[in-house]
Symmetry: C2
Amino acid sequence: MTATALSTDLYQLTMVAGHVAAERHERVTATFELFVRSLPPHRNFLVAAGLESVLDYVTHLSFDGDQIAWLRHSDELRAAPPAFFDYLRAFRFTGEIRAMREGTPVFPNEPMLQVTAPLAQAQLVETAILSLVNFQTSVASKAVRVVAAADGRPVMEFGARRAHGPDAALLAARAAYLAGCSSTSLVEAGRRFGIPLSGTMAHAWVQAGESETAAFEEYARLFGERSTLLLDTFDTEAAARAIVASGLRPGAVRLDSGDLLVLSRSVRAILDSGGLATTQIVASSDLDEFRIHGLLSAGAPIDAFGVGTSVVTSIDAPALGGVYKLVELNAGGVIRRVVKKSSAKATWPGRKQVWRYTERNSRDVIGLDGEPGFTGAAPLLEPVLHSGRRVAGDVTVGSARAWCARAVAALPETLRRIEHAPAYQVDQSPGLRDAIAEHGSAPPR
Amino acid sequence: MTATALSTDLYQLTMVAGHVAAERHERVTATFELFVRSLPPHRNFLVAAGLESVLDYVTHLSFDGDQIAWLRHSDELRAAPPAFFDYLRAFRFTGEIRAMREGTPVFPNEPMLQVTAPLAQAQLVETAILSLVNFQTSVASKAVRVVAAADGRPVMEFGARRAHGPDAALLAARAAYLAGCSSTSLVEAGRRFGIPLSGTMAHAWVQAGESETAAFEEYARLFGERSTLLLDTFDTEAAARAIVASGLRPGAVRLDSGDLLVLSRSVRAILDSGGLATTQIVASSDLDEFRIHGLLSAGAPIDAFGVGTSVVTSIDAPALGGVYKLVELNAGGVIRRVVKKSSAKATWPGRKQVWRYTERNSRDVIGLDGEPGFTGAAPLLEPVLHSGRRVAGDVTVGSARAWCARAVAALPETLRRIEHAPAYQVDQSPGLRDAIAEHGSAPPR
């Protein structure tokens, strides 16, 4: 969200300076593709996210005079040619981007975002694009699992305090909602993206009251049925009994510590026998998809879940290894497909398209761009930026969320479970196979 | 860095509305303390970080008219009293903050930051403060281990592409440098904080050249001795031989894949026999403290390390469980110490101070504020904000880094190793013990 022109690695600038010095910075067009080499543990698929923030970044990218002056006087760029600073002064991103829609399930080696632009432009944007896509895709890919485990019950995301700073919290709230969470606690995300907000109360509210009951009463007086009263400041069951005795009718109560299976049952019984059968039980406390699945499998009478840390940091896979690799160069119409052959980090040549068959035998095919289409399969990379301008308007997170739900529902059922599933079938097209053979590159992993 | 007034959980606002309705929002003064309950795995201590960004946040915190209008019309706050919105309109943080200096080693249950302010103010800032401190402390606490493993060799942080967004990358670069990294690749961090920058080249540079040798030559022509040439685009040893044959004299070469021990030895031999004994070897590729320690223990001739993902995400402990808990209320001079008793999440009552003995038998004592000092021990919580204003000027990251190095060096040697060490001794003062006994709270954990 807050990327600046300097939100980039130094080497992007030194390489751009080198391309300017060699006068190929705008003369050569490059295609870079963003993909992951393998799935993290406990992921049967990824959910693409981050595209909107990428488009926001590239369409606003420019250098101001202060930034250029600073670069010019830095030790690292003092050797750069004057033409480099002139180039930065006039810099605008004028290239093309094709990408999978946010919310699309994605598999290893499939380009999820593809930049075709003058070489220097395509190079410069690498760092911020990777950071935006890697992170948001991580969060969406974790959230979709937590939502699946909750089996139709609302999952409220409230992880801001454990996110990697306030801006990461904002990006995470959006990615989590996109992947199916029902709401966020982060007010800025509500305002910025129109995501529904939800909240309960903190222990400090209970502690600051004259008594626990007084604290509950004050809150319920103000917020009525919207109130979710927090039970575990002193003793969870005693608090539930106090609510019944007080005659309050809160919309929900929240369990935040202890054995959530045992407590949800005992609190449910206390509420039911006290005439509060419609008061819901919300559970939180370091929950993830496995704990939620365990609670529900054991029959815990929990109506909604509050999830924070595990989703906003994608805690079991906190860094997605998405890479952004040069695959094709075009110098005045002469096209050169390129590869790297680094041990365990090789790449496939050429500008690509990904095709998905969703009927019966679901599978994907990675092909070269321009190969004839595959009957019955849909292309996943869509043009989103043309000559530096957005092809369509902004995509709301609500529509991306609806698309995500449909696209995930179309996956084989085994992939949508939280247990490890056999790998989804992703084939190479004949054209891609030939191109790889020609370049002598071992297939990545 | 980019926290707004709405970078907060909804419940902070509903609780503030409740405090306003009960007219205790400014009448009651509260003290909240930020601490962790336990160390993450593979951490013998934490390194406090994030204070500067907290001070920036609280001293700039205010609500604008648009934000207030949005809140007033939200479903969640429609029930709040008009006085609440008036309160937000005039909101300024006028409280006190005491904190450990950035770079200070910190242990479980020790308050590293303490807010004493009118109840509503102290409540409202919880979310952003936790997010800022949890994240930056995570990164600093990981970086200090990586730096220790490198045993005096420079550690260049270049993790922006795997950070949780561009803003997290910026905060991470600062925290990593504070804890001893030698430089960052992130240009914005260089400009904003004065952190030394470093960079190498990407595979795409080599791929975009006429040949690998031509790419090396072009880069070295521009950046001379500052050049670090990347060897593994096609074949690491062949690239090293090509450099020798070309007569280039790069400052360094970089290994980024394959068996770094084997390759560092063979590349060192190629360079040495080619008259490039002063060309350094930089290694990267998913390095962390354990891999670096392993390489150096085996005698790998590596001069510097590039580290990204593991540091900027604190990958093995990506979410620090720092909490912000109410410990004391002061209503017109009547002081009430408070606790919560939640299972495994209990808290200790009262406003505290942490004392550190560094001579011979190093240990800390957590005491109540106002207890007589402990001879030979230094208090770690220092006043940094008074009546909403900074007590001293900004602290540069350079001075925090120097402080960190000294404070870490004063720790027992076993703690500074990357292996698990016996827990550092942290005692309760007699006054704190009495207060806990009085409140009947079990000690946390």
